[in-house]
């Protein structure tokens, strides 16, 4: 079986590879339909859903307009509770910062709970290269780590896997007997992970939210693995993008519902971890040190870009992936970087540069289902169009022919006489060619579809007569 290439510059090619993979299509369709169905039912039974979305949008808009203020407030309030805050300009700095903390505490094993930001900075490979073993503890993430693949979806990293896949991976990588019983598989994962939880010197998590006042970090999850990662090891490190900050607990309430309904179709997640400080006098558990690494990695550049700023509102719920007719067919790996689907097609070119992500914004029919479902009401499809314009005017990727075609088209379509003459010409050509063939052929289009015939007389030609009939 040919596989997709994990590089956004191969998106066109990856799409074709994915389309040939019917097992992938089936698994995806099933997984997306299921979560979308449950989500729709929850949305329908949530009063004022639309207002909630608008509120979330406004909160993000407000916070990002004063991001420096809220970040400093967050820093101050966290430090007052004994949390150490670090600032990282880019991926390299974030990794180095975490390494420094790890070295100080003689860390050999770090348990991680799902964090796309850590994928963004390439933390696992970085740590492995320095003899520190990162262990993913979210079940889906663990499956992906065992199989040597990056997450397939920002929320459900092993979405494309069947029970049988997981059984095979476990048998091969963990040396256990093959089973495809979900219950048994979970038990196996739990047993192996427990050893790591107990021996790990460090826990690493992301943050779904950071509340500026009072300073706290919110990590939501369903398996309890984030709770263990943040409490069992001696040190807990949070790696988060600077856009994750929100002003108050009141705001958090808005986002918790929106996030869990949109991501996993639950009213609330099973666990909401609110972290404010390291272990205090009298606490029964908790780490001795808590560190928060605030990552920029291009975010402040996007913040300064008014047309693109709303991409920072994303709370990584993954709903736009599930609903996207393109994602449903090509899957997460085709996008070639950590963020997939419609929002990934916005984030990848923004974070890694247009040269790297230039194919992605074109991989959308602009149907707008992503914007419609987005719990923060981001106009994802409009961002894609905007990026297309930037790519067309900034890079020379789509070839002279296309460029020329649009130039000629716009020249003709803004001159009515020329436009009519052109249409007439095509009609003549059609009447000469068609006796032999029933239909016109249009390059590429006609590979998979029939192209319609031009009508014998255009509406324009029919109008005179029609106007006479219509006038009383």
């Amino acid at each position: 079986m040919s596989r997709v290439i994990l590089d956004s510059r191969y998106f066109y090619q990856n799409v074709r590879v994915s389309l040939d993979d019917s097992a992938l299509q089936n698994a995806l369709r099933k997984a997306c339909d299921e979560v979308l169905g449950k989500r729709a039912a929850l949305v329908a039974s949530t009063p004022h859903w639309e207002e909630l979305r608008r509120a979330a949008h406004r909160i993000k808009e407000h916070t990002l307009a004063r991001l420096d203020y809220y970040l400093l407030q967050l820093e101050k309030n966290l430090e007052a509770q004994g949390v150490r805050v670090h600032w990282a300009e880019n991926a390299e700095e974030a990794c180095t910062e975490i390494l420094t903390i790890a070295r100080k505490h003689n860390v050999w094993t770090a348990v991680k709970s799902k964090s796309m930001t850590s994928e963004e900075v390439g933390l696992n490979a970085f740590l492995e290269g320095r003899k520190i073993r990162p262990v993913e503890t979210d079940l889906g993430e663990y499956i992906q780590q065992l199989s040597g693949e990056p997450p397939f979806h920002i929320v459900t990293p092993a979405m494309h896997r069947t029970r049988q896949d997981v059984g095979r991976i476990f048998a091969e990588k963990l040396g256990v007997d093959y089973t495809e019983d979900p219950e048994a598989l979970t038990q196996i994962a739990r047993r192996t992970l427990r050893r790591d939880f107990l021996s790990a010197e460090m826990g690493i998590t992301g943050a779904n939210f950071a509340v500026a006042d009072p300073g706290l970090i919110g990590v939501v999850e369903n398996e309890g693995n984030a709770r263990l990662s943040t409490t069992a090891p001696r040190v807990h490190v949070v790696l988060m993008g600077i856009e994750k900050v929100i002003p108050t607990l009141e705001d958090l309430r808005v986002f918790l519902n929106l996030l869990s309904i949109s991501s996993t179709a639950q009213r609330l997640p099973c666990y909401v971890n609110l972290i404010r400080s390291p272990r205090q006098e009298g606490d029964r558990d908790g780490p001795e040190e808590v560190h928060v690494v605030l990552l920029d990695n291009g975010r402040s550049r996007i913040l300064a870009d008014p047309a693109m700023r709303s991409s920072l509102y994303c709370i990584r719920c993954g709903a736009c992936l599930n609903v996207c007719p393109v994602f449903q067919r090509v899957g997460g790996h085709a996008y070639g970087w950590v963020y997939q689907g419609p929002i990934g097609s916005v984030l990848t070119p923004l974070y890694r540069g247009l040269e790297y992500g230039y194919q992605l914004p074109f991989g959308s029919s602009l149907c707008g289902a992503c914007a419609e479902i987005c719990p923060v009401a981001i106009d994802v499809n409009h961002l894609l169009v905007e990026l297309r314009a930037r790519i067309q005017s900034g890079l020379n990727t789509s070839g002279l022919l296309e460029r020329l075609a649009f130039r000629v088209w716009s020249f003709v379509a803004s001159r009515p006489r020329l436009y009519r003459a052109g249409a007439l010409l095509v009609r003549v050509a059609q009447s000469l060619a068609l006796p032999r063939r029933r239909h016109l052929r249009l390059p590429v289009w006609s590979r998979t579809r029939t192209f319609p015939k031009l009508a014998r007389r255009s509406f324009y030609r029919r109008w005179r007569q029609l106007a006479d009939q219509l006038s009383p």
Partner: protein
């Protein structure tokens, strides 16, 4: 009421009977119908593909043609979305910004205009057959028109409306998307058509000619027992042999 028709290029060239049917219906509902002959296209193909300079050239012409129109009506959700929504972005900070905003408020999609502005939903039409309605994306999401076409369809004598699964999923056209990703685009259309067949439909009806072009193209290539029609086809009986 005086209404200026916008007959988008695809309708003009491939499905003129849809323009004609629309004109007849509007006239029957008491509108004075006018067709400015200098019209061409709304500029959307270039806008969506990222060639905004080219798009502006065409959209500027569009603005000039319809500058004096009291009301513009078009049988295409996506062209209306261009004139109403996307042109705001296209002309943002340009000399034409004001004109674009002003025109945006006077452009309507056909079903929206008939139901909301004229307050009509029974056009006295007759059509025999089982029909599944496909919600065209721009009509649905950029213009927020979802109920109007259904209200019109429900009043058609002889027509049985069947509900298909995922009626709001994209047909896969998406302008140059259909050419840049032909297999993907076709896979999306096939899914759509499968849903229509499962629902027992004989016709898939929609309100945008580009979706008709896409779905009918796949239907013909695959020889499926279905037919893709524009809402106006059904309402006016135009072009149905």
């Amino acid at each position: 009421m005086e209404v200026w028709l916008f007959v988008p290029c695809l309708v003009d060239q491939f499905y003129p009977e849809v323009g004609e049917g629309m004109a007849r219906i509007l006239a029957r509902l008491g509108c004075r119908v006018h067709y400015p002959p200098a019209q061409t296209c709304c500029g959307q193909p270039a806008f969506n593909t990222g060639y905004w300079e080219d798009a502006r050239r065409v959209a500027r012409h569009f603005l000039r043609v319809f500058a004096d129109a009291p009301v513009v009506v078009a049988p295409s959700g996506s062209c209306v979305a261009m004139a109403r929504v996307f042109s705001q972005r296209l002309f943002h900070g340009q000399p034409e910004q004001e004109a674009a905003t002003a025109l945006a408020q006077r452009v309507f999609e056909f079903s929206e205009f008939v139901v909301k502005r004229l307050g009509q939903d029974d056009l006295g039409a007759r059509f025999e057959g089982k029909v599944a309605y496909h919600a065209s994306c721009h009509l649905l999401r950029e213009l927020g028109v979802s109920e109007e076409p259904l209200r019109l369809l429900r009043k058609v004598r002889g027509l049985e409306l069947v509900e298909m699964n995922d009626a709001q999923a994209c047909c896969g056209f998406g302008g140059t998307f259909a050419v840049k990703f032909p297999e993907l685009s076709t896979a999306m259309a096939l899914y759509k058509l499968e849903q229509a067949q499962k629902a027992g439909a004989e016709y898939v009806v929609m309100n945008d000619i580009s979706c008709v072009l896409q779905l009918q193209g796949v239907i013909e290539r695959r020889g499926l027992p279905l037919r893709a029609l524009h809402l106006v086809h059904v309402l006016s009986g135009e072009g149905l042999a």
